[in-house]
Amino acid sequence: MKVIISGCGTIGTAILSSLIKEKHEIVAIDVNPQIIADITNRFDVLAICGNGASYDVLETAGAKTADLFISVTSSDEYNMIACFVAKKMGTPNTVARIRNSEYNGSSFEFVKNELGLSVTVNPELLTAQTLFNILNLPSATNVETFSANEMEMIEIVVKEDSKVLDIPLYELRKKIPHKFLVCLVEREDKTYIPNGSFTIKAGDKIGIFASKSDAPEILKQFGLTQKRVKSVMIIGASKIAYYLTKILLESKSSVKIIDKNEQKCLQFSEQLDRATVVNGDGMNQDLLTEEGILDTDAFVALTGKDEDNVIMSMFAKNKSVPKTITKVKREEIFSLSEELGLDTVISPRYLVADLLVSYARALESSKNSKIETLYSLFGGIAEAAEFKILHSFKHANVPLKDLKIDSEVLVAGIIRNQETIIPCGEDVFRIGDKVIIITAGKTVHDLSDVIG
């Protein structure tokens, strides 16, 4: 697929690097010649120096024949105009980054429709929503939701005192009253798709597939105490902090925000009535103790400095805060997080990149593969793909245990008329079902390729 990306800042580059792994043909546009030189050296793309909203530049980039145009410069207005021009030139799908909350208000749908935008991205809001999902299941390191929020894959690290150790999975499934599937296990840098005789060991990172309502109960069975987060401490009065606080306050949690900048603190306390805003340095451990880090349920470090965020989170972890979340920008820290002993690490740019990758896949799927939606799991090591069972599918109504399914593939869930089924051997695929399958290390483009 031919993709044009305008604006190659941190988010643009992250999107570019993810999309190039997906073998898309990419043209990058940026006004900064240095960035263009760097991109040309690092990636196999065509990089053009210029204004991504100008007709001439877009023509050179091939907007008339492109399939997808993504504008992620720092200016909302610029992104809107660029997408508008690209759309009028013939690019069918356009994505704009729109961050300003004034644009995201009630007029949003109107603007989106009039400009013909396919998707808008607000990295900060997206991050805040992801953070909220994680805070809702604090014992999980990550939560991925599928199919209109009905199903979840919960990533947890199994502790040494867990009750599930050394029991084959098929017995475990009988023991625990709720339906679930352990669909991925990461052990010592290797990823497994476990079968029924697999046993879990302490220290394994596992992915559990379950319906949303059962998730808390299942986690309890896995030996993870499940307490809803009631008080959250956030460091850094950033845009993400603003959105997150708003969502948290709506769900009746108490929020304390700490920031060095007095001006920002005043602004926050004006906009967010019920939150406690503290003016102070989050790196000051005395201050954190004084403000009650010992009693808080969750600690979220959202300042602009990666180093600060990491150190603060380590301190919070040290003070036994049940849940700490660290926001980082650099990929390097992202991969070091486990060695640093951090709980959950998130990076807005990768959230956006993941979102756009799945969007691009969905577009692609309408062309030559049959995937409805694709999700990346465990930081990109594994994938979950959603397929729809069509009439052309030959093995409908055959129990799963009688089907020959590729050993690298796991059928994780079936969605039938808004009902979610965690499948066992007796279940069948029916025409019209949506099926979620999980694979590690390869992408399945057609269900018939792996089932037969």
């Binding site: 010649p33 030189a37 050296n41 690092r42 196999d44 793309v45």
Partner: protein, 480 residues
């Protein structure tokens, strides 16, 4: 440095070269020549050896940096020339390995300088291999590999930059692989057209193919002792125009395919290229008119020689050694200018000359008005300072290399004109020079040492110095 990936790429190229040798193999089979076996042996042995060694190299790490690209290109070209020389030696037609190496380097670097005093006695298979090596070397071996194989490394731009001539290497389409494909398709298409045109002129298929390959790669190996002189005026005109077309930046042909004629016509480099060609033709025509006493012959000779030297091909229809000094000096200057960037020609390249002159103009202006701010523009766009500085450095290194090579060759004790023009003709990938290495003579007069030096000169010229230079610097090989 990623040694494993570099060596496995070189081995891959050797395997591909073995495949490409099927072309001369087939030729010798058709003409029932004995050199068939020398090709067969070379193909089987080099392919098997390369294949076996490759099995032991695990090139899992696909990371590739600028340095790796340059080293890969340098090693590849040396390896390809060494292997390519083997059939000449085995067949016994060029018994000395140094001579055979010189001949093969001359082929791949599209120089066209030969050590053979009697070309016509060489068997058809070997003649085809000489000319076919022009065709392969013209657009680049690694670019060819990129076009036909699956992804070899994660940053293919470094290979493109190291192998494609010119100060700025830009891709036509997002993927380097697709760019390589487009360039090769254009290249092949024009070569086919030229072959057909030559067929119409009465050449047989063997002759039209070899000559089309020689013109396409701007190489210059022919099949006759007197090069093109004995062919009809139609063939001479066709080849003259053909050579000129291969001296043009190939990106412009792609733009033509996209129907962007306006952009092509506005190209500064293209305009300058043709201005230089036309004015040289004019000067030479008037200068040599007294020798021919026939305007048609004079202009044809002038056009052919200008086109041949400017595009660094090296075919000839006249012994320009006997021409007046003015014409010889003009041709000598054209040797250094060479064709356009992104073509198959050698030399400094027209775009570098333009940028150098613009830089000089800006510097002079700065001397007159110290506070002026001047931006160098090229092809309608602001030129990045690093590019214009790079051109300056390149020109300096170019002349330093030229000086060193000339000193080394002068040990041979041949005439001044022979020495300096032989280095110039090899370094700029032309072929014939003046005096003893004139169009009607050959390089057999040199001793072994000079032949090696001139072979290096050809490789330096074709790869635009840096890759080979890096190979010779010890710090490149130090592990830190």
């Amino acid at each position: 440095m990623n040694y494993k990936l570099i060596f496995s790429t070189v081995l891959k190229v050797i395997k591909i070269e073995a495949f490409l040798m099927l072309v001369p193999l087939l030729t010798s089979l058709i003409y029932k020549e004995n050199c068939f076996y020398s090709f067969l042996i070379t193909i089987v042995v080099s392919f098997t050896v390369a294949h076996v060694i490759q099995k032991f190299i695990k090139d899992d790490n696909k990371h590739f940096y600028a340095k790796d690209g340059l080293i890969t290109v340098a090693l590849t070209w040396i390896a390809v020339s060494l292997i390519g020389a083997i059939p000449f030696v085995i067949s016994g037609e060029i018994p000395s390995f140094i001579d055979a190496f010189f001949e093969t380097v001359s082929g791949f670097t599209t120089t066209g300088a030969s050590i053979l005093s009697d070309v016509e006695s060489l068997s058809k298979g070997l003649l085809m291999w000489r000319s076919f090596s022009h065709f392969i070397g013209g657009m680049g071996v690694l670019v060819f590999i990129m076009a036909i194989t699956r992804k070899t490394n994660d940053r293919p731009i470094h290979i493109l930059r190291a192998e494609m001539p010119g100060p700025i290497v830009s891709k036509l389409v997002p993927r380097a692989k697709d760019t390589a494909k487009i360039l090769y398709l254009i290249y092949i298409a024009i070569t086919i057209v030229l072959t057909v045109m030559l067929l119409f002129g009465g050449m047989d298929l063997f002759e039209s193919l070899t000559h089309a390959f020689g013109a396409a790669g701007t190489g210059g190996f022919g099949t006759k002792n007197d090069s093109i002189a004995s062919y009809s005026p139609y063939i001479q005109w066709t080849l003259a125009i053909g050579m000129l077309l291969f001296g043009v930046n190939f990106n412009l042909y792609y733009l033509l395919l996209l129907k962007k004629v306006g952009v092509v016509l506005k190209s500064t480099e293209l305009r300058t290229y043709f201005i230089i060609v036309l004015s040289s033709i004019a000067i030479i025509t008037f200068n040599i008119y007294p020798l021919y006493n026939n305007f048609a012959n004079a202009i044809r000779s002038a056009t052919f020689q200008t086109s041949s030297i400017m595009t660094t091909t090296g075919y000839s229809t006249a012994d320009f050694n006997a021409w007046p000094t003015l014409s010889k000096v003009v041709l000598f200057m054209l040797m250094f200018i060479g064709g356009c960037a992104g073509s198959t020609a050698g030399g400094l390249k027209v775009s570098r000359i333009i940028i150098a002159f613009k830089k000089i103009k800006a510097e002079l202006k700065k001397l007159l008005y110290p506070n002026t701010v001047s931006v160098i523009k090229f092809e309608g766009e602001k030129l990045d300072e690093s590019v214009s500085n790079g051109v300056g450095t390149y020109v300096i290194i170019y002349f330093i290399c030229f000086a060193i090579l000339t000193i080394l060759v002068s040990f041979n004790g041949l005439s001044f004109e022979t020495t300096i023009s032989s280095v110039s003709a090899c370094f700029n990938n032309i072929g014939p020079g003046f005096d003893l290495v004139g169009p009607m003579s050959n390089y057999s007069v040199f001793n072994g040492f000079s032949k090696v030096v001139l072979s290096i000169a050809m490789l330096l010229g074709r790869l635009e110095i840096y890759p080979l230079l890096l190979l010779m610097i010890p710090t490149t090989w130090k592990r830190k």
